[in-house]
Symmetry: C2
Subunit: 439 residues, 2 copies
Amino acid sequence: VVGDDHVLTDPDLTAQYARDWTGRFRGSTPVVVRPASTDQTAGILRVCSAAGAAVVPQGGNTGLVGGGVPLAGEVVLSMRRLAWIDPVDRLAAQVSVGAGATLEAVQAHARPHGLEVAVDLAARGSATIGGMVATNAGGLRVIRHGDMRAQLAGIEAVLADGSVLRRMHGLVKDNTGLHFPSLLCGSEGTLAVVTAVRLKLVSVDAEQTVALLCFASLVEAVAAVAELRAWPVPLDAAEVFFADGLALVTRHLDIEPPVPRDAGAYLLIACGGRSDLSTELAAAVAHLSCAPMDIAVATEPRSRAELWRLREAHTEAINAAGVPHKLDVALPAAALAPFADTVRTRVTAVEPGAQVILFGHLGDGNLHVNVLGAEGDDVDDAVLRLVLEHGGSISAEHGIGVAKKQWLELDRSAEELEAFRAIKRALDPQGILNPNVLV
Amino acid sequence: VVGDDHVLTDPDLTAQYARDWTGRFRGSTPVVVRPASTDQTAGILRVCSAAGAAVVPQGGNTGLVGGGVPLAGEVVLSMRRLAWIDPVDRLAAQVSVGAGATLEAVQAHARPHGLEVAVDLAARGSATIGGMVATNAGGLRVIRHGDMRAQLAGIEAVLADGSVLRRMHGLVKDNTGLHFPSLLCGSEGTLAVVTAVRLKLVSVDAEQTVALLCFASLVEAVAAVAELRAWPVPLDAAEVFFADGLALVTRHLDIEPPVPRDAGAYLLIACGGRSDLSTELAAAVAHLSCAPMDIAVATEPRSRAELWRLREAHTEAINAAGVPHKLDVALPAAALAPFADTVRTRVTAVEPGAQVILFGHLGDGNLHVNVLGAEGDDVDDAVLRLVLEHGGSISAEHGIGVAKKQWLELDRSAEELEAFRAIKRALDPQGILNPNVLV
């Protein structure tokens, strides 16, 4: 179907497709097939269907939950060659791209038109659009523009039997039955293989204003975000970290922070537009019912980057301090502070010497729980159960994949899981698509 | 299950449930059942499933495509008694409501908190939230806030066999498998009966600015919308009408328009926020690559209403001139002007004396095609086929229901329709839920 050159069987060549980049998940594959078109993808799936061969679709292989790894010797369907990008449709502010286009390539293509994909993430150089759709990628700007699902104006995907679903006209109002972009987004390759996407684009902000607000408590920071949402210029980000993380970061980077070290919660907010918004931002902060203890504002690129660095360097500072357990969870706004108050106690109950560092996307209720000094999986179990006690979700943006499968039935009801399985059976009766993940 | 008082069999009582409000669709029903809770809804569906009795779920019965009418003697499941509304969650800017709550009731409940549902429509006094979800309601503000699907932070729904899917915690980041709010929204009651919804709310704008821009052509108006999208303060509406509609409206209302009568296209834009935005709006218009021929701006409530009236009175002015065929369609931005240029010719080819009036939501590519002086369905067929030739959608916001079912297979591919049917069979194997609509 694809020609011999794109059927890899040499273990030296296939090995990189059979493990994830963290090294946590490793499998093996008899063959990696690299289609260059939708027709070829359909052809491969017809062959695999006829042979009853299980298939793991793979994009840039940058996932964090092992969702793209052939754990049980599946065929790997590498989508990276479908990397075409159509001209930007400026009237619609949309672009059609192949599933294998990297986010970075699409951004580079759109930005000369003053447009960009609203979902951006650190793995942009390798992460493919198809993978971002399959996993419903999130990131920093969900508070303003929504998740990957919200960026989809059309999709093309191939079902297990090789039939092609295609609706790429980009209409934002289209009530003609089921909405496949929404259904397939976040389905982790279990229902269909995404081959192309029609993406909505947003305007690139000429200016950005960033402020770091110090509050006495997380409760106050959460309330501030709720109030700032009512501000006419939308927040581009609302990120949170804490004194312990700030200490780790400033030590790692060997810098002095521009704000006191002893606040109860640090809220980093950003907003962007055509002009400098620092006056408006200051006015909005001045109107908060609970004023911050301290504030640092930045509008120049360098000083903005310095504030952002305090939040973004958390990952490297934590990694430098040890090998963390990382849990990506979400909580209802009202449960964020109660969860944060309890999680350390709960972790040290199962792992006495462990240190818990929290940071994340406060505007979306999305916390990244990092635990240093833990050995087994007991810590993961303790954290995820606490999340569920507080009405939260065990996966905010990374997905379930293989990593969180054992906790899924604690989070989703038996009725929901049975409905997943029924839809899975309906679209993939043999169960050949990404059989190790989700359900 | 619901008690005798809520099982209506008297034809005098059931008649109103067996026809739609336009009178175009009429059926009959042996029984109308009115549950007051999710448990009762599940109980009814278990009974109907066991009896193999088909069910038509019904909200406020304000649909425009006959989707809630028991055409073949189905049981009517009237959801209006599930009208509970929880206290507003101000931290999350969300509210949980029963499917039977009217949009008006939810708006009245949310507005004292400075919040509202972003999707608003004329039928708000009767339309229920459950019906708006089942039909993925649209309206004027989709350009800013998206359709009903975009307002959903959670859903509770009952499958045909009585099992309940429930996920109402309102997390905006939640990657734990399939997203049922997205799947069920727009499924027109064919997959499940919605019993409750967790709605995102948006801030009520203290001020609104409205401008009516006159362009030489629709091409220029479409280009203007694309440029105005890049403006930092988001457009709340971008509506279009034409000289023939304006003439009809001004004659019907007996008024003089504040702008010339002979423009090629009239673009009404609105934006809202905490303060008067007329300066910013004027600046944005001044930067358009193609300046409007004329402009009227309004910030005071009365003058704003006068501008809005020119657009909103189209429906009543058209109805006063005759009984129109109304077709709700969507087109890609680049196809709007070519479609508008051709549609009159195409209509008069099949119906020589007919008059075509276009208006609609330009920002979403959504045109309402009104045809006066047409007899049979040939006009509908001619318009919908022209839409498809231009890469559009036969239903932008009203849905398929019964009214557009005969054209659905021209719009959606055989593969897509088979995937719909497979999912329908998976969740409703007996096919008892709203069997007359969609597929």
